[in-house]
């Protein structure tokens, strides 16, 4: 017999015939990416208050029921694509009388975010799926759909700013006014075409101001707590997610124990599988060295975990690939910038030497701790994001 696919009864496309919902036929409509959270809901409220014709779009990205092994690990609500969040987004749209649709990008999300996340991890890198999602789903698939349905621009709840520089003719990406909420690090991959069609209405506001606007405009989810973790990984356990995902793909991951070696090559212990470690990690190494010991590198080829002292974790040079330049086209000469090598990293002064159009060498003035392959190096000049790339 033919196996019958178990289709989920996800709340689907809201086909409203209620005439109180405006028919959007104007060419200047903005599609708001609505996640059901307070930030994107407030974006919808702000644009609507301005009288901007808007369409609410919620992306269905991941089927939370796919990996039943992970159920019960942390709440399913307030995560990516949980039914509660779709419900909240729909409720906000109904509250404001905004046309609202759920668009399904599960296929693109798996191909461009989840798979690379798993592959990166298994290759010993520490991936940032949010950036891949921005580059390949939100500002690609979603923007394309928005344009197809007649909304040439999209607005999201990101804390960042976009500005057109009439002199250079470029669209510039700036940090959010609220430094504590700034998400520009995750947006370095946006192209000029994408930035030209993007609005970040929250970039000028502090988190406190956003909460106030949300209350003033009576956004139904104003008091909802924020989610911090990677949306498709319940309880934040990457390892459990990756094991379950590979199991679903028919691959049983086995822990391959191997040697723990010092930077001088001396075997000083055993590890229980490289994927349980990340560069810079100190806890859980099970070594009694008499002084703090950190993971310095993961050597996939020899299945060895290389550990050392804090100073050995520091380095002044690294290379990036997949470089995207924002404020100007790929330069020929070295560029001075402050470089951030992870989301919460204090930007460090460096010189960036382009190697070709999409790769560069970064030389820091001071050694940086735990430069981690898979993370992004984002180049700042003051409040501007000049560009960025992926650490090799």
């Amino acid at each position: 017999m033919t196996p019958i696919a178990q289709l989920e009864s996800v709340p689907g496309l809201g086909v409203a015939i209620d005439n109180s919902v405006t028919v959007v036929s104007t060419a200047n409509a903005v599609a708001v990416a609505m996640s059901g959270g307070v930030d994107s809901s407030t974006v919808a409220a702000i644009l609507r208050e301005r009288g901007q014709p808007i369409v609410g779009l919620t992306m269905q990205l991941w089927n939370q029921r796919r990996l039943p092994q992970l159920q019960g690990e942390g709440p399913v609500q307030h995560r990516c694509c949980s039914l509660d969040d779709v419900y909240d987004a729909r409720r906000v749209a109904e509250h404001f009388g905004i046309p609202f649709y759920v668009v399904n990008f599960e296929r693109a999300f798996e191909q461009t975010v989840v798979r690379p996340f798993v592959e990166d991890y298994l290759a010993g890198r520490t991936p940032i799926p949010c950036t891949h999602c921005n580059n390949s789903v939100k500002f690609d698939e979603l923007l394309a759909t928005a344009r197809q349905i007649g909304a040439p621009r999209i607005a999201t709840g990101h804390y960042a700013r976009v500005r057109h520089n009439p002199e250079s003719g470029r669209y510039e990406l700036l940090r959010a006014v609220d430094e504590t909420k700034d998400q520009s690090y995750f947006l370095f991959g946006l192209t000029q075409e994408q930035l030209a069609r993007t609005e970040f209405p929250l970039g000028e506001l502090t988190k406190q101001e956003v909460r106030e606007v949300a209350r003033r405009l009576a956004v139904p989810v104003a008091e909802k707590p924020e989610s911090q973790e990677i949306c498709f990984v319940p309880s934040g356990s990457y390892v459990r997610f990756i094991e379950s995902y590979m199991q679903e793909q028919g691959i049983e991951l086995r822990d391959e124990p191997g040697d723990v070696v010092s930077t001088t090559g001396e075997v000083i212990g055993r590890h229980n599988g490289l994927r349980n470690y990340t560069v810079g990690q100190r806890r859980g190494l099970g070594l009694a060295a008499g002084h703090p010991v950190y993971v310095v590198a993961l050597d996939r080829a020899t299945n060895r975990l290389i550990v050392g002292e804090d100073r050995e974790l520091r380095s002044t040079a690294c290379e990036v690939r997949g470089v995207n330049w924002i404020s100007f086209a790929a330069p020929d000469a070295p560029v001075r910038a402050s470089v951030r090598i992870r989301h919460r990293h204090d930007p460090a002064e460096a010189e960036i030497t382009p190697l070709d159009a999409t790769s560069a060498r970064i030389s820091f003035l001071e050694p940086q701790r735990a430069i981690t392959p898979g993370q992004a190096a984002v180049f700042y000049s003051g409040e501007q994001v000049l560009g960025g790339g992926w650490l090799k």
């Binding site: 017999m1 033919t2 019958i4 009864s9 086909v15 089927n63 649709y101 394309a144 759909t145 007649g150």
Partner: protein, 397 residues
Amino acid sequence: MRVYLDYNATTPVDPAVLEAMLPFLGENFGNAGSVHTPGQRAHAAVDAARESVAALIGAKSSEIVFTSGGTEADNLAIFGAIAASSKPRKHVITTAIEHHAILHSCDELVRQGIDVTVVPVSRARGLQGVVDPEEIRRALRPETVLISVMHANNELGTIQPIEEIGRIAAEAGVCFHSDAVQSAGKVPLDVNQLGVHLLSISAHKFCGPKGVGVLYVRTGTKVAPRFYGGHAERDRRPGTENVPGIVGLGKAAELARKLLPEDAARLRVLRDRLESSLLERIPAAQVNGDRAHRVPNTTSLSFPGAGGEALLIALDLQGVACSTGAACSSGSTEPSHVLLAAGLSHDDARSSLRFSLGRPTTAADIDFALAVIPGVVERIRALSPREQQTASAVPAR
């Protein structure tokens, strides 16, 4: 202006139906199971509705079991027929284009250890989206206890050869169920001519209210109840009767019987004009499903190079409501199981829209839709990634 072209998803309640129902939400609120006069009034109204529904499908009124809708009728048919069978081993035959109310029920049967054969809808007889009765015959086994084949498909509108399958089921002595939710009110229905033992219908698909349906159970056919309670519906479906809903269904059935020839002829003309004009104005557009064997109100079209999801939203924003497939499947990642089963490629299935007309549809509605749809398809094609277009731009004709 807003035009609704999704009557296969649901229809508005006809004003005459609403009028018939209102007293039973107000002064005539009695419980049809009560002994007193208010109860007897309600009981009489339920009986009258039973007669009316029986007349629509050529049944006896004692063969009508009211349910909460099409899904419950389908579930009662499948699980009820299985539970009533005394065979030690049980086997069910259905088709790949059934509604999920059938297919997901069959999934559950499989989980319970019952064999299910899902017959593909091949083009063996050159008819797209129409099952070959010989395939049903070939799937028969000594332990087969039920055949379930829909009358009209909800997405394609294709009408299945129920009479032929009915003869096959009769020869084999197997219980035969048909989900007629999408054909009731659209084409004449006669349970004796069709040769079915069980047949599901739903009021809201033909201008009746939501939340009420019928399972026709031929005299002598055993169906074990799914619910246990009082003695309503001769124990086959206990629970206090949904009197206003049942009255509405009765009125809708009466109207359907009276208006069917006129509705069908008028909607066929409008549907054909919509379809042929779209084929004419939109390059590479194609009709899904055999055009000669369809209910008169439905057309499924694919527009290669344009995504169905974007088409649906863009059309809605411009005032045209239609669907990409079944109303309950939207938001899912897989293209319609019906379109795939009918032989469409994934790309063509993903670029398909269903337009379904209903009694309120006017020529002006069709004019409006025709003024909007070609421009929307053109825009979406122009804004779609190249590779997507080249992958599916070649019509599969």
